[in-house]
């Protein structure tokens, strides 16, 4: 086949590519409602105080897999819980909780009435601002949860301080399509939702 013919065929494909580079407006994926307002107040893109919120934009599906980059700062005895794949009242989801006691940060996973603890590296400063990248793969049975500290720029499972495939036991699966936070005496500074960082 002659090159001229090939060029004639490629031209429409190039046109499609050019048209494809035009994007539509993206709606706010972080619009939220209060599940329990408590003492929560907005601080920039985050919240401070005690209460809970659910994000209005649903996840792709109840069995979807997602990644969350969460930045927070806790008061002594404070805690923050990421709830994923839950109802719009944060029920029935996979909960990843970080609790501070003095200079120590501890973690736990909860689904329903089952809670399993996990260890957080000592390099994480419990008294300061903490950033954690959390993958929740709810399409797996049970949900596969991984977490990395903020210094990681690539996310193989081997570098995760939490990996329920071979480490802490996953307590099960969420059954809903929403996500949000339960905050107790702390500040959620920033959150970013994305596709999973670790992929088989």
């Amino acid at each position: 086949m002659r090159l001229k013919t090939v060029y004639k065929l490629i031209a429409p494909l190039i046109l499609i590519v050019a048209l494809g580079s035009c994007g539509k407006a993206v709606t706010d994926p972080y619009a939220f409602t209060f599940v329990s307002k408590g003492t929560l107040t907005n601080v920039g893109a985050g919240f401070t105080g005690t209460g809970s919120i659910v994000y209005s934009a649903a996840l792709a599906s109840p069995t979807s897999n997602n990644s969350y980059r969460v930045t927070f700062k806790l008061d002594d005895t404070g805690s923050i819980t990421l709830v994923s794949n839950s109802s719009n009242t944060l029920v029935g989801g996979v909960s990843v909780k970080f609790s501070r006691s003095g200079g120590t940060l501890s973690g736990s996973l909860t689904v329903g009435t089952t809670t399993n603890a996990f260890t957080i590296p000592g390099t994480v400063d419990a008294t300061g601002s903490v950033t954690i990248q959390i993958d929740i793969h709810n399409s797996e049975t049970p949900s596969h949860v991984l977490a990395w500290t903020s210094d990681k720029t690539t996310f193989p499972s081997a570098s995760a301080f939490l990996n329920t495939d071979g480490g802490a036991v996953s307590p099960g699966n969420g059954t809903g399509q929403y996500w949000g936070f339960i905050l107790a005496s702390g500040t959620l500074t920033e959150v970013a939702l994305s596709s999973v960082k670790f992929s088989d």
Partner: protein, 326 residues
């Protein structure tokens, strides 16, 4: 290559894929390499062993892909295989990824099956009915401890994976033919997530001389996924891929993907994909393919998760590779 006097056939396949653009990996990688051994075991049984290495997070993981013992000689018009294999349901799931007519999986296949396909261990039996027209029924049951690609053992399901495919074939005018398959798959996982898949696969080909002048491949799937507590994750998805052969070496195609969750929160969303493709096959043993994967999710008021990925793929086969029936 073959073992002298034994009928042993050995072949290898290489699959290189580069993804560039928004949502792509930004690099060229060996996505998969596969080594395949097949031969008659004795006068009754045949054996197949496939080892594949997949590129995952910077490393190539070698693992058993398929390992089966089977026969078509024990029961008339009936063939079976026992072992680990890609489930004989649907069209894409029945083919190794390097045999697909496009580079990456449509969303319906990724979500309902896996990036490559569902591979499990069990028994599959297929019977060709003695009718004047082609009618073939495949039934299978597998462990179901896991569903999709996984490096863990999984957990014992409440109900193992079981499936059926009823396929028929008929010729079409102008040297064409079409195969239609009606599919069902069911499983209840250990967490009581109950999955039922219903699908139709349709593949039509028109040949001219020694090559396929026109290919039309499509699948339509509906999933009922019941979750504990009464929630569900029902969804519908499809893809359609028409491809035109310019000559025996060049072909162009355009895949259209559509997918929508049917829960209250997802019903107004539509995941789409438009994938124009151009392909060069110097022979049946090599393929160079370029495509543009334009995909995203349309939601009320805008779009989410848009990706614009230029895909470059090179596939080669070494040795004698088994041919597919159609």
């Amino acid at each position: 290559m073959s073992g002298a006097g034994t009928g042993l056939q050995i072949s290898a396949a290489g699959d290189l894929v580069g993804e560039f653009g928004k949502g792509g990996t930004g690099r060229l990688d060996p996505r998969e390499t596969e080594i395949l051994f097949f031969a008659p075991i004795d006068q009754t049984f045949d054996g197949l062993a496939t080892m594949a290495a997949h590129y995952e997070t910077g490393q190539l993981f070698f693992e058993v892909h398929e390992l089966t013992i089977g026969s078509s000689k024990l029961i008339p018009r009936t063939r079976f295989r026992l072992g680990q294999f890609f489930l004989g349901v649907g069209r894409l799931n029945s083919f190794h990824r390097h045999d697909w007519p496009f580079t990456s999986a449509p969303k319906v296949h990724r979500d309902f099956f896996d990036k490559e396909g569902v591979n499990d261990t069990g028994l599959e039996v297929a019977h060709l009915f003695p009718f004047s027209f082609y009618l073939d029924l495949t039934l299978g049951i597998t462990n179901g401890w896991k569903f999709g690609h996984s490096h863990v053992e999984g957990t014992k399901p409440v109900q193992p994976t079981h499936y059926a495919r009823l396929a028929t074939y008929t010729t079409l005018p102008w040297s064409g033919g079409v195969q239609v398959g009606f599919n069902y798959l069911g499983r209840r996982a250990s967490n009581n997530f109950d999955t039922r898949l219903f699908g139709v696969d349709l593949t039509a080909k028109w040949r001219e001389a020694s090559f396929v002048r026109f290919l039309l491949q499509s699948e339509f799937w509906y999933r009922i996924l019941s979750l504990p507590g009464g929630a569900n994750d029902n969804a519908f998805g499809m893809y359609i891929f028409p491809q035109y052969g310019l000559d025996s070496q060049w072909s162009v195609g355009m895949r259209l993907d559509a997918f929508s969750g049917l829960s209250a929160a997802s019903a107004s969303n539509l995941d789409y994909g438009l994938v124009p493709t151009i392909q060069y096959k110097a022979s049946e043993f090599s393929t160079i393919r370029a495509s543009y994967n334009w995909k995203g999710r349309l939601i009320a008021g805008g779009e989410q998760n848009s990706e614009r990925i230029f895909e470059l793929q090179a596939i080669f086969l070494l040795g004698s590779h088994p041919a597919h029936d159609f």
